[in-house]
Structure formats: C-alpha cells, structure tokens
C-alpha cells in the first residue's frame, strides 16, 4: 500500500460513507471498501473507470471540475482528494463542493515550495521535476501547483479548519523532524484532514 494511502486510510473511520474524487484505478477505494467503508469513486478517464469496475469499486465517470451535481448535500461522511488538487482547473470550486457533500474532507498534494524544487528552479532555471511531480512542464496534468502555505490559506478562506496534518517526504512516507519544524521548506507533500 502506498504510504500516503496508509495515512489517508488511517483518517477514515471504519464504516464511513466515503467519496474519492479522481480515484484513478480505484486502488485506495478498494482498500477502504475492504476495510468496511461504503465507497464511491469519481474518475474522468475511461481506463480508470473500467479498472475500477473490474475491481468491483463503484465509480461515477465525471469531471470534478464541473462540480458534484450528481451528489446530494451531506450524502457522505468523508470526501478524499488524493494528489488530485494540483490537476483540477477550479480548486476553490472543488473544495466548496467537497464541503457541501460531506462534513469532513481529506486533501493530499505535493508541496511546490519544497527545498529541492526551489533549488532545481534556482540552480538550473528549469521547471522542477520530482517523484511526486514527474512530468515535464509541457505535458504535465499538474496545472495548479501550490505550497503548504498557499493551501492552508485557501482552505481557511473556504471555511475549513485543519483537524490533522501529516507531512510527507519525497518518497511519500511520513516525514521527519526537519519538516515538522519548517513544513513549507522541508515537507515534499502533505495530507490534511479538514472539517468544514
């Protein structure tokens, strides 16, 4: 299991009604369902959706940038946006929709202010590439890169309070003391448990 997935799974109470936005091939949801969650995914790609249904993971094919119009208010206990925030066109709209359909949200994203990315840009003068952001600038789906400070400001503006924050290192594992001291510089990514 991917370690950021372990972090997310630990934030989801057993038996929850869970929505995973941009669920990809359904790996995380399949694990959560295995642990007793009632799960639903939302995914835009054809292959992702078909892999989900081969796994028995319920999934709605939809573009989350168009909102979550198929879902009623408060119809979930918790919504997950795992390494997807940076790829949506309208992050504020998506966060607002998450708050509408569930009282709690989990958001994970790569921190664009991580020191390695800062160094890459400063030294080479080229757009940074990392394990969490592996694409060249001209082909990346990651169009809304943000730092930990940026995200916390947006989450606050959208009316969320941070219930829990777990910082990740470059390999996606829970990061060490340096990151806890200066997260925006030393954490490669973060997982937030938010309450609206």
């Amino acid at each position: 299991m991917r370690s950021d997935h372990s972090v997310i799974a630990s934030m989801v109470p057993v038996g929850s009604r869970v929505l995973d936005l941009g669920c990809g091939d359904g790996t995380l949801l399949a694990e959560l369902i295995h642990r007793g969650a009632n799960g639903l995914g939302m995914e835009i790609t054809d292959d992702g959706v078909v892999t989900c249904l081969q796994r028995g993971v319920p999934v709605l094919q939809a573009d989350i940038d168009e909102g979550l119009g198929d879902l009623e208010d408060d119809s979930f206990d918790i919504v997950i946006l795992s390494l997807t925030l940076q790829a949506v066109h309208h992050p504020a709209l998506v966060l607002g929709e998450m708050a509408r359909v569930a009282p709690r949200s989990i958001v994970s994203f790569p921190n664009f202010a991580h020191w390695r990315l800062r160094t890459q840009l400063a030294v080479s003068g080229r757009m940074p590439v990392s394990p969490l952001l592996p694409y060249a600038w001209h082909e990346t789906p990651n169009i809304r890169l943000c730092s930990i400070k940026d995200f916390e400001a947006l989450a606050h503006a959208e009316g969320f309070t941070v219930e829990q924050r777990v910082l990740l290192d470059v390999s996606g594992d829970v990061s060490g003391a340096a990151a806890r001291r200066v997260p925006n510089l030393f954490a490669a990514g973060a997982v937030y448990l938010l309450e609206r």
């Binding site: 009604r17 009632n38 639903l40 054809d46 959706v49 078909v50 989900c52 249904l53 081969q54 796994r55 028995g56 319920p58 999934v59 709605l60 094919q61 939809a62 119009g69 198929d70 879902l71 009623e72 119809s75």
Partner: protein, 385 residues
C-alpha cells in the same frame, strides 16, 4: 472480444417457448386492483444454468422488443434484437451465464396482450384489456422465474423501457437482483417524452380504421396511424449526427430532386420503410398500452417508499447513457444515479460517447460493450466467491 477472451459467435438457432403463468384460479392481480387471466408468456433461454443458479441473467426488452433477444429463428441474417450484446464470447457471455428473455406483458409477440383472446367474450381484448404498470411487468417477469425455479438473479439487464423494469424490480423486490444494468433509461418521462407518446397515440386512435381498438379480423386496422407513430418514434431513436451521416439531404434513387410532395429525400424513404415494416410485427393496441406504461412510470415519486426500499436493496447498479441520446438524454440517467447514490446504493455510471443516439444501446459501440463485459465478468467473479 468478450469477457472470456474468445471470439464472439452467434448463438445460432434458438426457439421461443410459451408457458401459462396465471390462470383463472390464480390470476395476475394488477397494480390497479383488476385481475387478468390467463396470462401466457413467451420466453427464450440461452446458455447453461450452473447448479446453484448463480449465473442467471434476465434480459428486459424495450417498447417494441420480443423474447428473441439473441440467436435467430431460422434466418441468420435476422438475429435477435440484442444479438450484438448477448452470445458466446459477447459481453453477456452465454458460455458463462444463463440468459432468460421474455416478451413483456401487454406485448404482441407471444405474451398475453390486447390482441389476445378475452375468455369472457371469446374475442380479442382490444381496449378492454386492463391498464397496467411497470410494477405489473415486473410481477410477470418474476412469475416466469418462479416457474423456472429461479430465486435469485445475478443480473437484470435492460435498455430504455427494459432499464425502467430493472429499476422498478430492484425497488420492489430488494432481494432478487445482485446487479441491475440500466442502459439509456429514465426514472420519469419528461413533458417532451410524454408529448411524443401523445402524438403517437393520437395518430393511431384518430386513424379511421382504428374502430375503437376492435380492428382484429376486420380486414383493416389503423395501419396509417401505427406507421406514423413508428416513423416519429424512429426519429427520436436516432441523433441529428447519425441522420446527417446516414442520409444527409440525399435524394432517393437519383441525384436531382423530383420537386414533388411524395417521398423524395432518402430520409423520408427510410422512415416510411421503417413504419411499414413495423406493421408486420406490431399491434397498434399494444403500442397504445405500452407507451402509456412508460408515461406513468415514476418509481421515485414516493420518497418514503424509495428510502425504505433502497436501504434494504441488495442490488448494485451499472447505469449507462449515450451522449447523443435525446430520447432519454444523460440527465435522465443522472437523476437515477443521484437518487441511488443519495441512498448509499453502489452505482457505477458512465456516459458513453456514440454518434447513434438512443439506438446506441442496440449497437456494437466498443466502449459500451467493454464496460458491460467487464461489469458482468466481475459480477460472475463475486458470485463465485
């Protein structure tokens, strides 16, 4: 390629069977409280039942379908209406599942309907046939399964009115169906949908040869009306795109327009052919009753009933729509998805891209077939564990 990875084939020659499911002593009690007997049902089965009956798939047909969903009755060039989807190596793979396909109540292809003999008079029912509903269609489907000694269904599959039956079935009998596959269906016709139904019925009922529905044996019936109804319905089954591709503004049998009021454009000729061909296989009274069944369908109307039933249902759903379908456009499927999801029912939904409009559900649309094949294969896996 089908779920098992082998080349798709035809079922070949298949036969329709008939069985009387309701008798004078044990009549069908309709939603309206009226009773109906006898009720005979025409059905076909394909594939082999496994000992625990865990591989049963029920096919529910649309407005003008019949029991012959796949395979043929002697002419391989005229296969059943869903032969693209059902057969060995096809998405509903008859090498792995046992398929039951019946003509629905009120139809005219072997199951009791308005053209059947009314035992009270010795003459065809005509408009004396009682009005019935989608829940009544489901009761008859279930009676057939009881006759076949089948208690649980792996999947019930239907497009359009067929999908509406699947939805109603899962609501009314939450233990029956493990998987409901609902394709380009609706939970409620729109005003526009009902308007089209109304014009179709008006065409039939205003035909001077309609004779209040007692046209059987009269030598002439509402052929003009039924032809017009079918022509109009057919327009709603195609998309603007597919009509443009298929016909454009081309002239029938020549290059220059004839400049006359008769049939000149290819699209006119095509519709007229569709309308006329329909007369050979369909009864005008059945058309009246079955379109009415669709108009009144509203399974989500009673929120309390829906809440209770969906809390109890064991059915998981695959809901599919097509992007060029304007008969029941994607918003209809999304309404179904919204209600099911709100009640925590497991649903998978896709809007499939296809140029063929509502008719797409009958055609070999690769992404659609890939989805159904994967879903049915997974359902079989779950059932075997």
């Amino acid at each position: 390629m089908g779920a098992t990875g082998h080349e798709p084939r035809s079922l070949g020659l298949v036969e329709t069977q008939r069985v009387v499911l309701f008798t004078e002593d044990n009549p069908l009690v309709l939603d309206s409280g009226e009773t109906l007997a006898p009720v005979e049902v025409a059905f076909e089965t394909y594939g082999e039942r496994v000992p625990d009956d865990s591989n049963v798939v029920v096919i529910c047909h649309a407005l003008t379908g019949d029991a012959n969903a796949a395979g043929h009755h002697g002419d391989p060039a005229r296969p059943g209406w869903w032969d693209t989807l059902i057969g060995p190596g096809k998405p509903v793979d008859t090498d792995r599942v046992f398929v039951v396909s019946a003509n629905l109540l009120g139809g005219c292809q072997g199951t009791t309907g308005p053209s059947s003999i009314n035992p009270a008079t010795g003459a065809p029912y005509g408009l004396r046939f009682p009005l019935f509903t989608v829940p009544d269609l489901v009761k008859v489907q279930r009676a057939l399964l009881a006759h076949l000694k089948i208690e649980r269904v792996l999947a019930a599959v239907g497009g359009s009115l067929g999908g509406m039956q699947v939805l109603q079935w899962a609501l009314d009998y939450p233990d029956d169906i493990a998987h409901g596959i609902v394709v380009c269906a609706t939970a409620r016709l729109s005003a526009q949908n009902i308007a089209f139904s109304a014009v179709a019925r008006a065409a039939i009922m205003n035909d001077p040869d309609f004779q209040d529905g007692d046209y059987y044996g009269a030598g002439k019936g509402p052929d003009h009306g039924l032809t017009v109804a079918r022509m109009m319905a057919h327009i709603t089954y195609l998309s603007e795109e597919s009509m443009r591709q298929k016909f454009g503004r081309r002239i029938q049998d020549r290059d220059e327009p004839r400049f006359e009021l008769g049939v000149d454009f290819q699209v006119e000729s095509y519709l007229q052919h569709q309308g006329k061909a329909f007369l050979d296989r369909f009864d005008a009274n059945s058309y009246l009753y079955l379109t009415r069944v669709m108009d009144y369908f509203d399974p989500f109307a009673d929120a309390e009933y829906v809440r209770a039933r969906l809390a109890a249902t064991k059915t998981k759903f695959l809901v599919l729509s097509f992007d060029t379908d304007w008969r029941f456009d994607t918003s209809h499927s999304r309404d179904i998805v919204r209600t099911l999801t709100a009640h925590r029912v497991p649903v998978t939904f896709r809007e499939i891209s296809s140029p063929h409009g509502h008719d797409s559900f009958l055609l070999d649309v690769p992404e659609y077939h890939r989805t159904v094949a994967a879903y049915v294969a997974r359902a079989l896996e779950e059932a075997q564990h």
